[in-house]
């Protein structure tokens, strides 16, 4: 455990960068490769946002979340979303105690620090809405009582891009609640070989192994990191660049509905965290450019022509980034 730096400590950014790097290293003890994904998830973690992870099964999404939970000694809960999952299964409910002859609140798995909502698109809309409400409000209303969810609180929801049969796709308004939509692809050959070696050596069964991951910090330190991320300086030019990129999505041909102001807010939030992860206390246009895709790809609605042409949101965003002039400070 590391002593918390005081706000006046000139080396606090240095401390934050070291902590972030240590987090990254620890996560990679369990998860081989996926550098960009880990970076983006950490950026969202420091920005206090939630992440929608999309990837085919077997890429290590759950492993990533468990490793992240282990690094900061946080409480971790996992909900496997199914079509018969009820909101009370997520939030909790009141049970009748025969002895005391009173109702007692039984908190649901949402009262945790890190929540893995596995295959979030398999649950019906009301259960999704219940979860997304907690994500937005960071509190749960049960039996007339408002119960805050303990900070830090982060939801990592996963969904499978294939097997859409019998799923309930998240509506655009609810997708907007996620700070980032991270796409997890297949690892390259060397990473995959290293992963297979690591997972199969001295292992019985196919249980996920996170024993090698050491806890690095407690919740207060995470909160301090989040405060530092929020204080990273964003120059007017960088802010203007981020806003111009977001606004360009609203007039871009091929996009039916562009990102709203929440998109620009999310982009700048995560840009601050990314700068901190890079060891800087100021953001640059490069931070905006590198995070525009995960921050905006789920906030666009493509036009039918674009969908027919097979162009994805990433293609459109890359075209926008190639056209929007970079700022001058």
């Amino acid at each position: 455990m590391t002593n918390l730096p005081t706000p006046s400590d000139p080396s606090r950014i240095q401390w934050a960068a070291e902590q972030a790097e240590a987090l990254r290293t620890e996560i990679h003890r369990a998860l081989v490769g996926q550098e960009a994904v880990v970076g983006q998830v950490l950026a969202a973690f420091l920005a206090g946002g939630h992440v929608l992870l999309e990837g085919v099964p077997g890429l290590g999404k759950t492993l990533l979340v468990r490793a992240l939970a282990t690094t900061f000694q946080g409480a971790f809960a996992r909900i496997q979303f199914t079509p018969d999952l009820m909101p009370s299964d997520v939030m909790g409910h009141a049970v009748w105690d025969m002895k005391s002859e009173q109702f007692h609140l039984r908190k649901g798995p949402v009262f945790t620090n890190l929540l893995l909502a596995d295959e979030v698109n398999r649950a019906p809309a009301k259960t999704q809405a219940a979860l997304l409400e907690v994500m937005q409000e960071q509190q749960v209303s049960l039996e007339g009582r408002t119960l805050p969810v303990e900070a830090p609180f982060m939801v990592l929801a996963t969904q499978n891009p294939i097997e859409q049969e019998g799923t309930y796709p998240l509506p655009e308004a609810q997708l907007d609640r996620f700070l980032l939509k991270v796409q997890m692809g297949y690892p390259d050959a060397s990473e995959e070989a290293a992963m297979v070696r690591q997972v199969t050596t001295d292992t019985i069964g196919d249980a996920l192994r996170v024993e090698g991951v050491r806890p690095l910090m407690a919740a207060p330190e995470v909160l301090e990191l989040q405060r530092l991320a929020a204080s990273v300086r964003v120059d007017d030019a960088v802010l203007d660049y981020a806003v111009r990129v977001v606004r360009a999505t609203r007039q871009w041909p091929g996009i039916a509905i562009g990102a709203g102001p929440r998109g620009a807010i999310a982009l700048v939030r995560v840009v601050r965290a990314h700068a901190l992860l890079e060891g800087r206390d100021f953001a640059t246009p490069d931070d905006v450019k590198s995070l525009a895709l995960p921050a905006l790809r789920h906030r666009l609605q493509r036009s039918p022509e674009t969908e027919i042409e097979g162009l994805g949101s990433d293609d459109l965003l890359q075209a926008i980034l190639a056209k929007v002039p970079a700022p001058r400070a």
Binding site: D235, F282, P285, D286, K289, V324, A326, R328, A329
Partner: protein, 517 residues
């Protein structure tokens, strides 16, 4: 037919308009059509039921096969409607024999599956033609609108099918779930009552579509006759005549009507013109052909005597005369293109000469294309692999060096001759931001204009740094990285570099970015 008494406006219509005309007639006279049709259907059912009561499918099949017989009633009503008369069921019964007198057997047997059935029906029913006369007339009438008639028949089939399937789908949709009767399971498995029910549905579908089909074909027939016999012109002239004097009427009648209208047939129907017959010679005095030799001699005589065939023309062509001093390969190459051809032997057949000349031309074009294609391929290979051949590489023509990158002016003319000196001067003067901006944009200008680095206007500092890594050696690349990071700290954090750091950059700048120092 007298155009003045018609129940429609004759004018030259397109095929679609013609079909629409027929449907309009049907719409205007649907009551007598329905009456006549219903009478015929009752007659048919009365005929079928005693024999085919146990086999409704055969009844439906018979109904379908006898449609040409039913069509005659529809056509009877429509043909009266053309003259503005409304035929009744009673009229139809009175004319029963005349309606069915001609071509009924042919219509039900070998012309049953004709793709132009409704189009040619008026020829044998109304014009009373059969045999060779019918064929000749049908050829004339269908010469320009056969495609439309065929499309009409196809549309009729499709429409009937759609109506039938639509009815069946409606029935299937109204069946309660788990119903014992499945419409698509097969006719044999159904009860007799249900079979009759379905047969009635089939008859209904055929009844709904067939009159439309007949009316469309009749519209095409009327339009074709309007084209051929100028009914619209005749009508116009009649109106004109009504307004002019009797003399003019006689003149016009003699000069135009008399020339246009074919002589009427004894029974009042127009006479079929023998369009397929060979044309009569315009100059009967020419007589039969002379013997071939005589004709040839006559042609030769004309060629020699007539000055019109003594026209001379000078034609200049590009040719090659070998001097004997050129190298062998050059001579072969030039021979390939310019070698004189041996004069062609006189041939008895001009057609064959022409074909041979055409073939030679095609061969020459083929040779030129082959050689040209090979040359083009070699040139493309050289261009494609110009990097490996060490040839100078020009920038892509559509790429223009931007005037500004990340808001910084990087045009060479905007830079001072000695960049580090100018930057130092600015720094001393208390403008460290301008000094560092000058160093950075001058470095970018060098990369863009001297190193050929392509930097779009949307490039950020990081993009420039990554691109510079590919164009610079490690030493200059490291200096550019330091310069970029220093610039970023200043630009986005207002973090001024120390004098030592700035001086270090100024000293390293000439070595890294050469040109201007």
């Amino acid at each position: 037919m007298k155009p003045g008494t018609m129940g429609f406006v004759p004018r030259a219509r397109t095929a679609m308009e013609a079909v629409d005309l027929g449907l309009g007639l049907l719409q205007a006279h649907w009551r007598p059509v329905a009456g006549v049709w219903g009478l015929q259907v009752l007659f048919l059912l009365g005929l079928f039921l005693p024999f085919l009561f146990r086999t409704p499918l055969w009844c439906l099949l018979g109904y379908w096969w006898l449609k040409p017989w039913l069509d005659r009633g529809v056509l009877f009503v429509l043909s009266r409607a053309v003259f503005g008369q409304s035929a009744s069921v009673w009229d139809f019964l009175r004319e029963w024999r005349a309606v069915h007198r001609r071509g009924l057997a042919a219509g039900l047997l070998w012309r049953r599956l004709s793709p132009l059935r409704s189009y040619v029906l008026p020829i044998f029913q109304l014009e009373g033609l059969h045999g060779a006369g019918y064929r000749q007339r049908a050829r004339v009438l269908t010469r320009q609108s056969a495609g439309a008639g065929f499309l009409l028949t196809c549309s009729g089939w499709l429409f009937t099918l759609m109506t039938l399937v639509g009815f069946l789908a409606l029935l299937q949709g109204m069946m309660p779930p788990g119903s014992r009767v499945e419409l698509w399971s097969g006719f044999d498995t159904m009860t007799l009552g249900f079979q009759w029910f379905l047969t009635a549905v089939g008859i209904l579908a055929l009844t709904l579509t067939e009159p439309l089909f007949v009316a469309g074909g009749f519209g095409l027939y009327l339009n074709r006759r309007t084209h051929l016999e100028g009914w619209d012109l005749e009508l116009a002239f009649r109106r004109l005549a009504a307004r002019l004097s009797l003399v003019v009427l006689l003149l016009l009648g003699a000069r135009s009507l008399g020339a246009q209208e074919p002589p009427p047939a004894p029974d009042g129907e127009p006479v079929v013109q023998a369009e397929g017959a060979p044309p009569t010679p315009k100059h009967p005095a020419e007589g039969p052909l002379r013997p071939q030799e005589e004709a040839h001699q006559r042609a030769q005589r004309i060629l020699k005597e007539d000055p019109a065939f003594r026209h001379t023309e000078e034609i200049r062509v590009l040719s090659y005369e070998p001097t004997g001093r050129e190298p062998h390969w050059l001579r072969s190459f030039l021979d390939f293109f310019f070698a004189k051809k041996e004069p062609a032997k006189p041939s008895g057949s001009r057609n064959l000469d022409f074909l041979k000349g055409l073939w030679d031309l095609i061969a020459l074009v083929g040779k030129v294309m082959l050689v040209g294609g090979l040359l083009a391929f070699v040139l493309w290979l050289i261009y494609r692999f110009r990097h490996r051949l060490g040839l100078p590489v020009a920038r892509e023509p559509d790429w223009e060096a931007p005037a500004a990158v990340a808001g910084l002016d990087i045009r060479p003319e905007s830079l001072p001759p000695d960049v580090p000196a100018a930057a130092r001067h600015l720094f001393v003067r208390g403008e460290p931001r301008a000094a560092l901006a000058l160093l950075y944009r001058a470095a970018l200008a060098e990369l863009v204009h001297r190193k050929g680095m392509e930097i779009p206007a949307s490039a950020t500092e990081g993009d420039c740094l990554r691109a510079a890594g590919d164009h610079l050696d490690p030493g200059p690349a490291a200096i550019f990285k330091t310069l970029t990071l220093t610039w970023q700290r200043l630009a986005y954090k207002d973090d001024l570099p120390t004098r030592e750091a700035f001086e270090g950059l100024c000293e390293a700048w000439p070595a890294a970015f050469g040109g201007r120092s």
